[in-house]
């Protein structure tokens, strides 16, 4: 599953943030929950990916302070991020379709 995870990390994160702004811990937790534990990140790789997407201007982080809470960093998808998300989704869809056709791979 590791190879798939590597190539698809960006897709996963962008897709999650497309649903709404999240801070780092939430991002990690939701990926783990939704993939039923198949996908998980180490601390560094999670933030590495977040920072990388931020540098590519696909997401944007900002510090938010809520009363009675420590300040947290929330990440939000950018317009460019949505564009990349769309094209990645399409590409992966094609690949999965091809895998299904050629190699008999079924969606789990």
């Amino acid at each position: 599953m590791d190879t798939a995870k590597k190539g698809s990390t960006d897709l996963l994160l962008l897709a999650l943030l497309d649903e709404g702004d999240l801070h780092g811990y939430d991002v990690g937790r939701r990926i783990e929950q939704r993939s039923r534990g198949t996908l998980s990140f180490t601390l560094a790789s999670l933030y590495d990916t977040l920072y990388r997407l931020e540098e590519r201007r696909l997401i944007r982080g900002r510090w938010v302070e809520k009363p009675g809470q420590r300040r947290r960093r929330y990440y939000q998808i950018t317009a460019q991020g949505r564009k990349v998300l769309a094209s990645e989704r399409e590409e992966w869809g094609r690949l999965i379709a091809a895998l299904m056709l050629v190699a008999g791979v079924e969606p789990a």
Partner: protein, 931 residues
């Protein structure tokens, strides 16, 4: 503290401080994280911890869970993010911090440390690259050092490039390198194109001092100006005093070499003024030359010339000469002046000078002879090797850089600036170059003494070779420059392409170009290896042809050693002839004594060994008219051989008989001729009843014809008759590669020479030597034995030069093939890896693994074939140089080309075996997913 967190447990455990934990962890792995990142990570851990508590996990386990998340994280990647983008909010907060960190993390030193780590992760790549660099630089340094010390380093004379040797040529006799006649020399010396010229000849000399063993020393008797012409001075004493003439008759002076001075006289400064007995005559030492000076080749004693060159003969060619060109005169001008003079002399002295000319040869060319073309071949070989090393390093680095396409893409994506990236690649190249240079140094240091020690022949000046640091520097520089170039250029090309495209890695454009470049590199490598291998195959055949050349003797184990008997002073003709009779008798007694020793089977002596060229002189077959000038008639080589000589050397008798003790000086003159003589001059007649009329009375002070019937030198010579009593199968009397000449053998008893090569056939060479030593000691205690060797050893030494060249070329040839194979392996591993997807699709669509393998191998074969073709063209281009070192083999020899091609094809096949197997065993599913 998080308000939403459950109240702290009763066990008064302090709430974990996640900030400190993150800081500790960062410090542990040596990463400076900016404060905001620490905050963010601490918050994450806290969330993790509180979530665990919320699930009902006990505080210790919750704490452990968060700590585990921290521990499994490698922070290295995070640092780059943190340090990079000043627009990032938290980075802005720690701008100062980040700046320091950046400065620190991208110094060259850090880059070097990182590079070493990188290469350790790819040990095979690093080792192969360093090995290639090391072999290339090491071999190049070794050969350059040798060529430099043998060819390029100036000779120890003043302005050595202004010095030329003079050799006689004769267009009619096809002679291009003969000694010059003394009278002609004096004419040439007077030409204004020469500042001065010196001449010498080589008497063989026994050196006898009281209290010391007699030895044979290499001696020249030279005109007094030799050292002035060369521009060298003795280290001790004054040398020959200046004199208006080239010779001084009344006083016998000698200069000795540093080597003789140290080995024989213990470097005693009192050697000046000492009397030396040189072949019975007393000379005063007036100088010791500086170390390593033995001009013209290996001389230890220089005697001053005692007789007038101008009063000798234009017919006699036995002098050697060296001239210094006049200031401003070029060698071409000097040659033209000599040619003009030669044609004037030919007109004026037609009987002696017709067709004779003089050839000027720069002394370095003269000194090197065979080695010059050989070293050029070698130099070319090693140059090619260096090129190959560069090509290989280039291909290795190209492969590696391209395989790092993604890594570089990621690095750029995560914020490496081009400067940082270049620094990094630069550092990797430096580490590779340094490793390669060290390996090269080791290779050169190991190789050079081996070459010097195992050289089968003495190459002039080779022993002076010591590791040349400049050469090493140049080789390392070439290699390092190529390492840098090929390490950086592809990386920079990659950088220019946009990063996102590389990350998707679906694009094949750059790799297609790279593959074309790479194929070109591999083909060139194969071409170079092919050239070297064809060269070595040709040399192997040359050596084989040389060794197989019939010599006419069967004397592998026969000991041969020169023995020279000194002839006493003579005042008149009677005492002169008497002294020659003593010489002849002494040799005979030595041989008799040798034959009496146990274990000796046969013994004999001759003034020439096989492969040596005898004296040439005219003869007339009896019954044919005698010309007014016999010199214009046919000539044959004259040799003197004792009874037992042919038997000892294993020569074959064709007709009649060899010499016996009965062929003495008071008996009728007899000769043995060789088959070539019999065929050419005595064909159609009964050979054994023929008589030859000979005009030779002696060979200067070297030998004397005791059957010469003339009463005095001035009496006109009608010739003396010698009966042909035998025909010997041709004993080679010309160097390898030249035809055997007609030869006449005199019995040594009738035509004695002072110096004879004694041949002893015994049950073993050791026994032969013991017998010869004892016999000489018994008969003539003052006579030294010269360099004693078996004939087999001497013959092998004749082929030593091409054999040395051959073994070197074989060495380089196989090194080159190895490099080519590495190249082939490199390109195919890479191309199979790159084409994994394509090959997988082929397999998926039903291609047989075998056909995929065939596809890969077929492409190798095509590359190798192109390389071979280019290589064969290169051999064609090197034709002229090659043919100078070949013997009885054409540079276009098909067999050699075929052998070289086979070796290379086999090497290439082995090299692409592993990648081909990988391609055939490819799992289509994994293959499709790869990238």
């Amino acid at each position: 503290m998080n308000d939403e967190a459950k109240p702290a447990p009763e066990k008064s455990q302090p709430a974990p401080d996640w900030r400190t934990a993150v800081e500790h962890r960062a410090a542990e792995v040596g990463v400076d994280l900016p404060t905001p990142t620490i905050d963010e990570l601490a918050q994450h851990l806290e969330d993790l911890y509180t979530a665990a508590l919320a699930e009902g996990v006990p505080p210790e386990a919750a704490h452990a869970r968060a700590t585990a998340a921290l521990a499994e994280s490698s922070f290295a990647t995070l640092r780059r993010h943190a340090a990079r983008d000043p627009r990032r909010a938290h980075a802005r907060l720690t701008a100062l911090h980040a700046a320091t960190s950046r400065r620190r993390s991208f110094t060259l030193l850090n880059a070097l440390r990182l590079a070493v780590r990188q290469l350790r992760q790819h040990p095979r790549f690093a080792l192969v690259t360093m090995l290639v660099l090391g072999l290339g630089t090491g071999a190049a340094t070794t050969v350059f050092t040798i060529v430099d010390s043998v060819v390029l380093r100036p000779l120890p004379y003043k302005a050595p490039d202004r010095l030329v040797n003079l050799w006689d040529t004769n267009s009619e006799k096809g002679v291009a390198h003969d000694p010059i006649s003394p009278v002609n020399f004096m004419d040439y010396r007077a030409l204004p194109v020469f500042a001065d010229a010196a001449a010498w000849w080589r008497p063989a000399i026994n050196l006898v001092d009281p209290g010391l063993d007699p030895v044979r020393v290499n001696t020249v008797e030279t005109s007094a100006n030799l050292f002035t012409v060369l521009g060298v001075r003795p280290q001790l004493g004054t040398g020959f005093p200046p004199s208006p003439t080239l010779h001084v008759a009344d006083e016998k002076l000698a200069v000795i070499s540093d080597r003789l001075w140290r080995t024989r006289y213990g470097a005693d400064p009192k050697v000046l003024g000492r009397k030396l007995s040189l072949s019975g005559e007393s000379f005063t030492v007036v100088g010791v030359m500086p170390p390593k000076l033995h001009y013209p080749d290996d001389v230890d004693v220089w005697e001053r010339l005692e007789w007038d060159l101008a009063q000798h003969s234009r017919h006699a060619h036995f002098m050697e000469g060296v001239a210094r060109l006049a200031p401003g005169a070029t060698i071409a001008q000097a040659q033209a002046a000599c040619d003009a003079l030669a044609s004037r002399l030919a007109d004026q002295f037609a009987d002696s000078n017709r067709a004779w000319g003089v050839r000027l040869v720069p002394i370095l060319d003269e000194l090197l002879g065979y080695y010059r073309p050989a070293l050029v071949v070698l130099f070319g070989a090693v140059g090619l090797l260096l090129v190959m090393g560069v090509l290989n390093v280039a291909s290795l680095l190209l492969t590696r850089t391209l395989s790092r396409q993604r890594e570089i893409g990621v690095r750029v994506a995560v914020g490496a600036t081009p400067r940082q990236l270049v620094t990094q690649l630069f550092a990797e190249s430096i580490v590779l170059s340094v490793g390669g240079a060290l390996a090269g140094l080791l290779v050169a240091a190991a190789l050079l003494p081996l070459v010097v020690a195992f050289s089968p022949v003495t190459i002039p000046r080779l022993e002076e070779a010591s590791l040349d640091w400049r050469a090493l520097g140049v080789a390392v520089a070439v290699m390092a420059a190529s390492t840098l170039l090929f390490g950086l250029v592809p990386a920079l090309l990659l950088l220019r392409r946009q990063v996102t495209a590389e990350l998707k890695s679906g694009d094949r454009g750059s790799t297609r170009v790279a593959r074309r470049v790479y194929s070109l590199l591999v083909s060139s490598e194969v071409a170079v290896a092919c050239t070297l291998l064809v060269g070595s195959a040709l040399l192997v055949r040359t050596v084989r042809a040389m060794t197989a050349t019939p010599t006419g003797v069967a004397a592998e184990e026969v000991l041969t050693a020169p023995v020279q008997v000194a002839r006493g002073e003579s005042t008149d003709r009677e005492s002169f002839l008497a002294s020659w009779r003593v010489v002849a008798d002494t040799h005979n007694r030595v041989l008799d004594e040798v034959r009496r020793r146990p274990g000796v089977i046969a013994a004999g002596a001759s003034n020439f060994l096989p492969l040596q060229v005898g004296w040439r002189d005219p003869f007339v077959v009896e019954g044919e008219p005698v010309r007014a000038n016999p010199d214009e008639g046919p000539q044959a080589q004259l040799h003197s051989a004792s009874d037992g000589w042919f038997e000892a050397m294993g020569a074959r008798l064709v007709q009649g008989r060899f010499f016996t003790t009965a062929d003495d000086r008071d008996q009728p003159g007899v000769v043995v001729v060789n088959e070539t003589f019999a065929r050419r001059y005595l064909a159609a007649r009964p050979v054994l009843s023929q008589k030859l009329r000979m005009f030779v009375s002696g060979i200067g002070p070297l030998g004397r014809n005791l059957k010469d019937t003339r009463r005095s030198r001035d009496e006109p010579h009608q010739g003396d008759l010698f009966a042909v009593v035998g025909v010997v199968a041709d004993v080679r009397n010309a160097p390898l590669g030249q035809p055997v000449e007609p030869a006449i053998y005199f019995p040594a008893r009738q035509f004695p020479f002072a110096e004879m090569n004694v041949a002893v056939r015994a049950v073993s060479p050791g026994i032969a030597l013991t017998a010869l030593r004892a016999a000489v000691h018994e008969v003539a205690p003052n006579v030294p034995i010269g360099d004693a060797k078996t004939w087999g050893e001497r013959f092998r030494a004749e082929t030593g030069e091409p054999r040395l060249l051959m073994s070197t070329l074989i060495f380089f040839g196989f090194l080159a093939s190895l490099l080519a194979a590495i190249g082939v392996y490199g390109i195919f591993s890479w191309s199979v890896a790159l084409r994994t997807r394509e090959l997988a699709i082929r397999l998926t669509l039903g291609a047989q693994p075998v056909s995929v393998g065939r596809l890969v191998v077929g492409q190798t074969a095509a590359l190798v074939a192109v390389g071979l073709l280019i290589g064969l063209v290169l051999v064609r281009i090197a034709d002229a140089t090659l043919s100078r070192v070949l013997y009885q083999v054409s540079p276009h020899d098909l067999e050699s080309a075929g052998a070289a091609s086979l070796v290379l094809l086999a090497a290439a096949l082995v090299a692409c075996l592993a990648p081909a197997r990988r391609a055939m065993r490819l799992d289509p599913v994994i293959g499709l997913r790869a990238e």
